[in-house]
């Protein structure tokens, strides 16, 4: 299968695939005048009143790396769909440069642009945009057909693309016979059929109901894992952006407000607009256990001959009920409480630490999403230790820390 085996050299995660520099888009009759006013610092509404022009994209500059899922986010009217359409020049930019693989597409002659669209860039639409007069197979083969690829070759590729999205057997169906989720699978197959290096997705899953939307997001991530492309995904849904995005670009009123990884944006929002996005976001999906684990508990390094009394003394000094016992290599060993430790010391147990370990404490992996560990933390009477992949102690999560984190979201 073509999608799985082909190894695209350009898909190195570090190289720049699309580079956008100082891009403006002005809608209206007198764009140059509007740009002049904009450089004088006039506001959007002033410019609209003076020239009748509206500013779609205002000085956007950023790079999109090869092989990443880059999500452009914003409220409606923020210019995110316009920005996406500038990337394949469905909308012509007013000024600025857009380089794809180092070539400036804004200066590209029409014929080369058509070549680029056929070979390198394809697109998935919010309302699917499947042609109603064609069956599924011919919809999927549409891009190949206009590129002049022979009938048998394009049928083969279209069938492979349909198979990749799990719709083999539907090739003779009409688009209006399919459910929304299936329609968008066809839309995805159509975009994949020409094996593009760039996939533009305009609110591709927004018209689907929540369950199907999640399913399609997983599907996209799976396809991306099989064969990595550069995906530019427009969304107004932060949950979706956080779920699938390697990096997120947040737009407001045509401006790019912030570009960063999901973590960066949540932990360090650029302004109130950005912050307002995740007021409603389920933080437990965004954060991982490692993000909120804190080393506020006393940690005791286990070594030969360490006296339990000294340990108890330290816990009392820090006014802590619990202590985490780690090895010299920071490996997590167990958790003790003052009570359990005192008990063992009184009983003159041979190895007071080991025997004082509280039962039923399973450490959590730091990479675990917070949503998966809520129950564990809530149901535990003591702070739950968090370890990394190599069993090294990272910190612990107390109930109060958990509540504080969740509270930040609401």
């Amino acid at each position: 299968m073509v999608f799985a085996t082909e190894n695209d050299l350009s898909a190195q995660p570090t190289s720049t695939k699309i580079s956008i520099k100082n891009v403006y888009k002005v809608f209206g009759e007198r764009p140059q005048k509007a740009l002049d006013l904009l450089s004088q610092g006039k506001t959007k509404s002033d410019i609209l009143a003076a020239t009748g022009c509206s500013i779609g994209v205002n000085n956007a500059s950023f790079d999109i790396k090869a092989g990443e899922i880059f999500v452009i986010m914003g409220l409606s009217g923020s210019g995110k769909s316009t920005l996406l359409r500038l990337l394949n020049r469905l909308i012509e930019p007013t000024s600025g440069s857009i380089e794809i693989d180092g070539r400036d597409i804004t200066r590209m002659p029409r014929r080369e642009l058509i070549e680029l669209r056929r070979r390198d860039i394809s697109m998935v639409f919010q309302s699917f945009a499947l042609l109603p007069n064609r069956n599924v197979l011919n919809n999927v083969a549409f891009g190949l057909e206009v590129a002049g690829i022979g009938e048998s070759a394009r049928k083969e590729k279209a069938l492979a693309a349909l198979k990749a999205v799990g719709l083999d057997g539907y090739s003779e169906s009409r688009p209006d016979q399919l459910s929304g989720g299936m329609k968008q699978r066809v839309g995805l197959a159509r975009a994949l059929a020409s094996e593009p290096t760039i996939l533009l997705m305009d609110e591709a899953f927004s018209a689907l109901d929540p369950l199907i939307r999640t399913e399609m997001q997983d599907e996209l991530v799976r396809l991306q894992a099989e064969h990595s492309r550069t995906i530019v995904f427009v969304s107004h849904d932060l949950d979706e952006a956080m779920r699938i995005g390697d990096r997120i670009c947040i737009m407001q009123n045509g401006h790019v407000v912030q570009v960063g990884t999901p973590d960066e944006i949540v932990l360090n929002p650029a302004n109130d607009y950005v912050r307002s996005f995740f007021r409603n976001v389920d933080v437990s999906r965004v954060f991982r256990a490692g993000d909120i684990a804190r080393k506020t508990q006393v940690t005791l390094i286990e070594r030969q001959g360490m006296s339990a009394a000294a340990a108890l003394e330290r816990m009392k000094n820090f006014d802590r009920e619990f202590a985490i016992i780690v090895g010299r290599d920071k490996a997590y060993h167990g958790i003790v409480s003052q009570t359990s430790l005192v008990e063992k010391v009184r009983a003159k147990a041979a190895d007071p630490y080991r025997n004082a370990f509280l039962p039923e404490v399973e450490p959590i992996l730091a990479s675990e999403p917070l949503s998966n560990v809520l129950g564990k933390v809530a149901g535990s009477s003591w702070p739950v230790p968090v370890v990394d992949d190599e069993n090294r102690y990272v910190g612990s999560i107390s109930k109060s820390a958990l509540l504080e984190t969740l509270d930040r979201a609401s």
Binding site: R85, N88, L90, I114, E115, L116, R117, R118, R119, I121, S122, M123, F125, Q126, S127, A129, L131, P132, N133, F142, G143, E145, V146, A147, R190, S194, L200
Partner: protein, 293 residues
Amino acid sequence: MNFDIGDGVDSAVNYILDNFGPLLDFIAATIGLVTNSIQDALLAIPMPVGLAVFVALSLWRVGPGFAVFTGLSLWLVEHMQLWPAMMETLSLVIASTIIAMVIGLPLGIAMARSDRVAAAVRPVLDLMQTMPAFVYLIPAAMFFGLGAVPGTIATVIFSMPPVVRLTNLGIRQVHVEFIEAGNAFGCTASQLLFKVQLPNAMPSIMAGINQTIMLSLSMVVIASMIGAGGIGNTVLTGIQRLDVGTGFEGGIAVVILAVILDRITQSLGRKRAGIWRVLFQKTARQETAEAAA
């Protein structure tokens, strides 16, 4: 102050007559060839065969009930001795519709692709539709004499606007995401037109063609005044002799032809009924009822 527009039009017509004779002859010959060959072909078909073809078309495209109507009404036309006249009229309708489509479809496409063309063509279409139909008869007769050719030309002028308008409208109404999809997948301008715009504008274009056919049928009757022939002659004779019966017979025949053409051409815009469904006498409504049950 008096403007003598009439004189101006007269002299323009004379100027054209004097200077564009060969062009007019060429147009007349072309249209004459189209009209006459269709007419000869239709008249050569024996009545029972023609009737059978109409009934079969009605059965296939519309349904069994309408096929019965077609059979009975055409049988009535035959017994009014109007079958040959009806075939003549039909050939004029077909010829003028073909010519109207040949000119009108590209014009509608051009209007859809350019606002300037649309702005220029729209008032001309308004003029063509609102000008009393009789007015076209005069220059048509002056340029092309009497007979089927000027009749066809007057009919084309009168009946062309709907196909132009609805082609333009249909293409402009194609959903913007379809256009974007076409462009995003690398369509050239002509690929976009033929693979995206025209197929999606088809219902609207078919409605335009249907209207053009209906208008040309009504105009063909009027065109009999300049010798276009067909059922119009019967109606005209009825008027001239104040013979209500003859006029009514002609009128009935026109209505019958209109209904048959309307129903059959309307069905062309929809999906085919499917020959199997027809043979098993199952209409779409019955099928829905079964599905609901």
